[in-house]
Symmetry: C2
Subunit: 297 residues, 2 copies
């Protein structure tokens, strides 16, 4: 089991306009990820539109994924929710539905204090015996973890990893040198934000949590292998080839781009959850051009 290490692929969750899961499309997407041999799956992350789905829909997605993966690829599932009692319920659902780990984001409406988030994570982690990864994504959740909070959480029994937003390349060593001494020795620090994550892994991050790997696993694995080998020349060369796609993610929003690729490659004939709109035809064409150019990797 390579939980919290290596390349973790975050797929979209194909669903209809009401959020009913398209199990066949989800299975198609997950089978490709298993065949590509990503190190783990991050179901129901931001790419997987977890906040847009009901508890029942989320359980169905996990059950479908567990059936498809059949224990061959570790399955981590997002259990974030506004309310602690709802996140607890989702965490309790995860293991019987077939998950190997849970991922928890501090989804917030009322601004939360560091101590409120500590209590929230502690309560959820105690509701399951699955290992838990902290989902640190201030851009989506509007909550910023302080180092002290991360350290306190890392010392709770079930909390074994954090998914950090990748800083600029030049800031990665400082961040890891600052965080590592505060964490238990077996605690895993991984990174997301695809355009920066290869560098973050090459400089010591233990995992890359990737939305793009959820739809283009082969291509992202090439970049991941360069990162693993700390081959910075190859990372730079490949990131230059990825650049048009990274730029479209910045401009159009990663989730919209992921759905555009799912449509363009025939994996899923459907849309993101409204109010999030699908790409225009022109935008979709630009995205698929950027995907085509990845053949130069």
């Amino acid at each position: 089991m390579a939980l919290f290490q290596g390349l973790s692929a975050f797929p979209i969750t194909p669903a209809d306009a009401d959020g009913q899961i398209d199990k066949a499309a989800l299975a198609r997407i997950l089978e490709r990820l298993a065949v590509a041999e990503v190190d783990s799956i991050g179901l129901l992350g931001s790419a997987g539109s977890y906040v847009y789905l009901s508890r029942d829909q989320r359980r169905q997605a996990v059950e479908t994924a567990a059936e498809v993966l059949n224990g061959k690829t570790p399955l981590m599932v997002g259990v974030g929710a506004f309310r602690t009692s709802e996140a607890v319920a989702l965490a309790k659902d995860a293991k019987p539905a077939g998950a190997d780990a849970v991922l928890l984001a501090p989804v917030s409406y009322v601004s939360l204090s560091q101590d409120e988030v500590f209590q929230h994570f502690k309560t959820v982690s105690e509701a399951t015996d699955l290992p838990l990864c902290i989902y640190n994504n201030p851009g989506a959740t509007h909550f910023t973890f302080g180092d002290e909070l991360l350290s306190k959480l890392a010392h709770l029994p079930n909390i074994q990893a954090v998914k950090m937003p990748s800083p600029l390349k030049e800031d990665v060593p400082e961040e890891l040198n600052r965080l590592r001494p505060r964490m238990p020795s077996d605690f895993k620090i991984g990174y997301s934000w695809d355009m920066r994550s290869a560098d973050a892994v090459a400089l010591g991050g233990e995992a890359w949590y990737s939305g793009m790997a959820g739809i283009l696993p082969q291509q992202v694995l090439k970049l991941y292998r360069a990162a693993q080998a700390q081959n910075f020349a190859d990372i730079d060369r490949m990131n230059a080839i990825f650049k048009p796609l990274w730029d479209l993610c910045t401009k159009l929003g990663t989730v919209r781009v992921l759905y555009g690729i799912a449509n363009g490659t025939g994996l899923f004939d459907g849309q993101p959850p409204l109010p999030v709109s699908p790409l225009s035809q022109t935008e979709a064409e630009k995205v698929m051009q950027a995907v085509s150019s990845l053949s130069a990797l």
Copy 2:
């Protein structure tokens, strides 16, 4: 019916740790608001923790409120949700449950474009024949309405009002002069953010959407009457008396303060939805001191 005009009181939604509505406590709070003769009720706003409650819990809260108010005080209810189809379902529930109007906030996880929010509001407004008030609260929803979007929405048939965050006193005239010519003549512009709203109303805002009025209706009505009379000396005098309470709202978060007052006045023996924590005993004492000092109004 004074919908979208005057003082609209936004109560908390008393509930247990799982979000099950405490109907008796909700009835107690609403009866006080009706007796105080606020102009309308804004149920399930930010003060009412709408995002922390399920569809069924929200329907029960609306039904309880409609029964208590019995048509004497207009009832507006929040129908915001991440997913358009969920907001549509909530809007469809509102009228049969007894609501007179709906309030819609652009709750967002993926950042939304102006056009996505337009489509979201159009779809929800077409799902009900109740009038709709736009909930503009960038601090909570992380979405900023442009003037053009507000104007386009204001011209849709059911959309009749907006709840704006109060700007600084000196900026109110410019804002109203900028927005009014872009809106239909019967479109109502109201304000929230209690510490600033009396001035905003005195300078031309047509409604004050108030969380504090949801728990201290008599006291806030005094300040509202001064605003209505454009008596700026009285507004300043009363805002000085309110200042310790406004400062505690800023420091501790308005929702936590509202629950503290509900507890301290014996209206509700319960807590905000976790992960939002109740006040410490010291904080609660400071809040009740600030409430006591309002006797000088």
